[in-house]
Symmetry: C2
Subunit: 429 residues, 2 copies
């Protein structure tokens, strides 16, 4: 081994620290604002009429979980590409449909996360770099595509969102002051939202921001009221915007050579995958976990649950949600714990992260920032797993959401990533 | 001393406990809802065209603090009873004006708390007993009567509230579902409001409740928008409704023979007074304190401050505000403390109260209820003083609000009340 190589090895920890610091600087520099509403086909780079985007790492049709399959078939019917479920299935099996992860298309979606060509998407723009990310509007509860449920009611709602709701919201965004995602999240954290499973305060603040532009539009009041009602009835309405903001931030920290920070965590209901800043676009995957602590709707239990699913863990990648649970102890009580358990989770997330985000101050921790920048080295060293506040969908019946709780990211993803990182740097495992 | 008298004395602690338990039962049974909007003269029992109601215990004009005097003169000009400040003063000195505490007229008002005959008041009704309480709409910041400030802008705003805002809100309340005060407060407590100095979450929830009825009214959109803007610009808009709800509840606990619970705490900027359930309508007063821990606006300091003022301490009498500060640690940090100080205050309030209110669950204390039912015996025994989250007005310049912080109720009030209680029961001091 040459002297040069030795020096290089000795310097690596410092180089990693510098790279991680730089990655965090990039992440913290992002200023996402909600810019407008467009048809996915018109703005999502690479989108085609026969593309269906989904949550999580890449996955073949064969290996997709049942809820995601239902949502994909539903999207094809919604798009008018298939007249029914069996025709949809046939098209997929004949490879006439492009199935691809949202993350590969600058998109994110909660749960099944389906985005198809004619769906309206909200464009979130990073004021610092000008980069954009896209998400659908949150559909709300019940028979909804994001919960892997599809029927007449789902279709009716998706059409209403596309044909009635989105055109109005497009005008709202055009006339409103730019809505800062961080501004709303930083207030939400002061108001009991951890900004993943609790979004009620954020949604209220968002509503407060748009009531004036919405009711000032030259449209009928009944029309404006329908739009308002749809949003105000869904305390998770802001969820998708939180996700695009977090994606823009974590993407800004991506592709920093030597950085060991996680820039995406995502699940498709079959596998859980992570991406690491210094390791390119490769996903390090493991079987998607079942939720460990969860509360089920009446009549449902662990045997009914699909494994963890959705791009929404981009929120934890950004240090919110499960990482900020001390700001929303109701989420811990939900999973059978109390306030000290919530604080315990946030504190343990501090042990696997590189920084605290001063924008998001947790009141009950003396306004300590949220733990941000998951370091694969720390996860592997401590075996403390990222804690994700998540929802649960039925594994096979199409019943949609059946519960909610806490999932733990699989150790294997971080171990694989660290091995790849070591290999790249010629280190022994 | 007769045997009978002896038995009576021995039983007193049990009788007090039973009376206090009953008083709390009455307090917890109250279900306040916002019922409607009326002119004060039409609904406030005993109101006359020349009555001006004010915060705190009774006080003569001569002893009133400067901010309250300004607000009283302002109200007389607003009513058209006086053309200017000196004419107003003259009328008062000639005893042509009835000055009386809000509390004696089923009313409450924050800070100076002025209510005059033509002012619109919100009627809050207890669904359990049918009893009603009244408050004005919160005026918002700046040159406002409640802050002891009066000028052209104050007058303009009061007229707009009376002539434009209130008629619309009257229609809103007439068409809206009844708005439950507790429902909003119980959500607010989960969202970082202690429901006195932090009312942002409660106000957002209130707004969410009334957007639909407001924008469905057959009035011009510009009109509806002006009304909406006025409310949404003031994070304290819900404060006055919290106060009427608390007054209905504490009044329900009043006049229970043998009860040692405090049923009102109020200040007029000169004296601080309390009422005790078993001691009738007498106020036990002491000099109104200056705020101990406070944050002043730029350019102002303790030497500029008027003593503590307002009926808003009815909120602490009900176990919210300072008593619930652990739910809003930002209020403690505001006064130079941190989360543990906030928890410390709430815990110490548990030492002087008789119960925990299950309706208002503090998330960071594992959803423990707010400390409710101040017992004068416990205050005197422990010398722990009720902690009140308060605002500060200028003592003499009419500048209005100059800061906010924490005030402590004077020990003397509780000592005097306990002596009176002892005297009534023939006990030695």
């Amino acid at each position: 081994m040459s002297a040069e190589r030795k020096t290089k090895k000795t310097d690596l920890p410092e180089r990693i620290d510098a790279a991680n610091a730089y990655a965090l600087e990039m992440l913290f520099s992002v200023e996402p604002v909600l810019e407008g509403v467009q048809k996915a086909l018109d703005v999502v780079p690479g989108m085609t009429p026969s593309t269906v985007l989904h949550a999580g790492p890449p996955i073949s049709w064969r290996r997709m979980c049942d809820p995601m399959k239902r949502a994909v078939r539903g999207a094809l019917i919604f798009e008018g590409l298939a007249k029914d479920s069996s025709e949809a299935e046939k098209m997929i099996l004949e490879d006439r449909i492009i199935l691809s992860p949202n993350h590969h298309y600058d998109c994110v979606g909660p749960m099944t996360g389906i985005i198809s060509a004619s769906m309206p998407v909200v464009v979130t723009k990073d004021l610092t770099t000008g980069k954009k990310a896209y998400s659908t509007f949150n559909e709300g509860g019940g028979q909804a595509l994001w919960f892997g449920s599809f029927g007449e009611e789902t279709l009716r709602r998706l059409r209403w969102i596309r044909d009635k709701f989105a055109p109005v919201m497009k005008k709202v965004f055009a006339s409103a002051e730019p809505i800062s995602v961080w501004n709303i999240l930083s207030q939400g954290i002061q108001m009991g939202d951890e900004c993943h499973n609790r979004h009620g305060a954020c949604t209220n603040i968002f509503l407060k921001n748009i009531v004036e532009p919405l009711f000032s539009l030259k449209i009928s009041r009944a029309n404006a009221m329908d739009v308002y009602r749809f949003m105000s009835a869904n305390s998770h309405f802001f969820l998708n915007f939180t996700m695009t903001g977090c994606k823009l931030a974590t993407d800004a920290a991506h592709d920093i050579v030597d950085s060991t920070l996680v820039t995406a965590m995502s699940r498709n209901g079959t596998v859980f995958g992570i991406r690491v800043s210094g390791l390119g676009n490769r996903w390090f995957v493991a079987k998607s976990p079942y939720l460990e602590d969860a509360l089920y709707n009446l009549g449902y239990g662990p045997k009914d649950a699909a494994p963890d699913i959705g791009d929404s863990s981009i929120i934890e990648t950004m240090g919110l949600g499960g990482f900020a649970i001390a700001a929303a102890p109701s989420m811990a009580s939900f999973a059978g714990g109390g306030f000290s358990d919530a604080v315990g989770i946030t504190n343990s997330m501090n042990l696997i992260t590189a920084a605290k985000n001063p924008k998001f101050a947790i009141p009950s921790l003396d306004f300590q920032g949220t733990p941000t920048g998951i370091d694969i080295r720390k996860v592997v060293d401590t075996a403390i797993l990222p804690s994700i506040n998540s929802a649960i969908v039925h594994k096979s019946s199409g019943a949609g959401q059946i519960g909610a709780g806490i999932a733990k990211a699989p150790y294997e993803c971080f171990e694989k990533a660290l091995l790849a990182f070591g290999k790249r740097h010629d280190l022994a495992a």
